[in-house]
């Protein structure tokens, strides 16, 4: 059952998946080229700054992969008004779990490409001896980031009706609590506080704003 769901999702996304995988393989090399070429000398600080600045490419690619893999099967079901999916003899929640897991598995291909590209790029680049390479770490971060964006996109697509209202009300509720809590506690910067907590560990958005370092001390 799951194998067939995985097969169909692979078939729908295989062209994009090929493009994502090539992109994922080439990005680490491109980043290192930019980092090294842009420098007048091989100073450690300059190189790290350049690598960190180019890290946004990974976030961008992770988002493209994640949204691509999440949207494809949804559009396929939506085009049929979900009639086929709903007529299958399994609970809707199980079907959605299969859909989700299949996409999570497809994300492995660009992740492996990121690892291989990063490993190859760091092996072939001239790196100051005080620095270390982290191809595996960058690949894991890439996968987790993609998975997080994929999960959010997946959830937003499939929630409907009363569930959508609940999610929107939940988000509004959190914002209201932050605003009111900030006023009660005399905090003028409650929104800044919320943003900081979302984007620093263990906040869920930390992975988007953190430094994506293929090379670090």
């Amino acid at each position: 059952m799951f194998r067939q769901v995985l097969f169909t999702q692979w078939k729908w996304a295989r062209t994009e998946m090929f493009a994502y995988t090539i992109g994922a393989f080439l990005i680490p090399t491109a980043i290192l080229k930019i980092a090294v070429n842009g420098l007048d000398d091989y100073s450690v600080g300059s190189m790290l700054t350049a690598v960190a600045a180019a890290g946004g490419f990974f976030v961008f690619l992770a988002a493209v992969c994640a949204i691509g893999f999440a949207v494809r099967p949804y559009l396929a079901d939506q085009a049929l008004k979900h009639v086929y999916a709903l007529s299958l003899p399994l609970p809707w929640a199980t079907f959605l779990r299969f859909r989700f897991m299949a996409g999570a598995i497809l994300l492995i291909a660009p992740t492996v490409a990121v690892y291989m590209g990063a490993a190859l790029a760091t092996m072939t680049a001239v790196i100051p001896p005080t620095l270390h390479t982290y191809p595996f770490g960058i690949a894991v971060r890439f996968y987790l980031t993609a998975l997080e964006i994929y999960a959010a996109t997946f959830l937003l697509q499939y929630i409907a009706g009363k569930n959508a209202v609940r999610v929107v009300l939940g988000i509004i509720g959190v914002l209201v609590v932050v605003e009111l809590g900030g006023r009660i506690l005399g905090m003028n910067d409650a929104w800044v506080w919320l943003w900081d907590h979302m984007t620093t560990l263990p906040g869920p958005l930390e992975t988007l704003t953190a430094r994506w370092m293929m090379i670090d001390v």
């Binding site: 059952m1 299958l88 003899p89």
Partner: protein, 304 residues
């Protein structure tokens, strides 16, 4: 024997314009139940409610002994469903959709599926998006029949098909039903087609099930009467008066339901005279039933 489908007091509202109201429907096990109704009467919505694809606002539905929607996925494993429109992923091939579909059904019969595919002249490697309307209809029937379903729910399965394809699809259906003794709930506009294959009939109009009865009762029970000097309606007719209108002279034309020949005696009292009793075919019966259901008096009569 229990009923294959039972719905009680089911209500469903879709926007402001359309609603299913007080739906009470019984499909006996082993029957071929024809589901008639004009466009927009609520047939497809009702079928989707019965299969748990839409959540009923009120009422109780049981399909093959399972409550809907709680246990609907257990029932769906024993149901073959053909929807109104092609509902299959267009980029998959015939072979791929057969494999995909089979993986969800424990009773999928590969040999039967392959025989049906050959019998329907469907090429395994043909993408679904390139199938003709007739081929799509055949493929959906194949998928509905290949897992040995106890119940077939068919929503306009032959609509838009040419006569040859229609015959192929109906033959496959009837062959399966006679072999397996399966229950069939078939919605169609093609009344004469229903007349040939159905033994029960339900008529939907404006979101209400306005009649439900064995086909023999439906076919034989609605008559057109030519009556001279028709008696005043005192509410004691032994039949259900669906409509009453004047023709030439003093003769009236009545359309009645539940007619039996012994009821002739009713017209022998007073001045009235029953001149002729005319059999209606299923299509005429259907039209007369709908006409009566659309008048307040008619609906009241049906409710009683």
């Amino acid at each position: 024997m229990s009923d294959a489908i039972s719905a009680r007091n089911v209500a469903y509202r879709a926007g402001k314009e359309f609603a299913i109201r007080d739906l009470a429907m019984t499909v006996p096990t082993g029957s071929v139940y024809g589901f008639l109704g004009p466009n927009g009467s609520g047939k497809t919505t009702t079928l989707r409610l019965l299969l748990g694809m839409l959540p009923a606002d009120d009422g109780a539905i049981t399909v093959l002994g399972h409550d809907v929607p709680v246990g609907v996925h257990k029932a769906l494993a024993k149901i073959g469903y053909v929807p109104e429109r092609l509902h299959l992923y267009p980029t998959l091939t015939v072979e791929e959709i057969m494999r995909y579909h089979a993986s969800f059904y424990p009773d999928w019969d590969n040999v039967r599926a392959e025989n049906l595919r050959r019998g329907f002249s469907l090429r395994a490697e043909q993408p679904i998006e390139r199938l003709s309307k007739g081929e799509s209809g055949k493929l959906m029937m194949l998928l509905a029949l290949a897992h040995n379903p106890e119940l077939l729910v068919l929503d306009e399965p032959t609509d838009g098909l040419d006569p040859v394809v229609r015959r192929d699809v109906l033959s496959a259906l009837l062959e399966y039903v006679s072999m397996r003794g399966a229950t069939v709930l078939i919605s169609s506009h093609l009344i004469h087609e229903q007349e040939r294959i159905c033994d029960h009939v339900g008529v939907m109009d404006g979101g209400r099930l306005v009649a439900e009865m064995p086909m023999t009762t439906f076919r034989g029970g609605i008559k057109r009467l030519r009556v001279a000097k028709g008696p005043v309606d005192r509410g004691d007719f032994p039949f259900t008066l669906l409509s009453r209108g004047n023709t030439a002279g003093r003769e009236e034309e009545w359309v009645v339901r539940g007619w039996q020949s012994a009821m002739r005696e009713y017209f022998q009292t007073g001045d009235s005279e029953l001149r002729e009793v005319i059999d209606l075919d299923l299509e005429e019966s259907f039209v007369e039933l709908l006409r009566s259901a659309r008048t307040p008096a008619g609906i009241a009569a049906e409710d009683n």
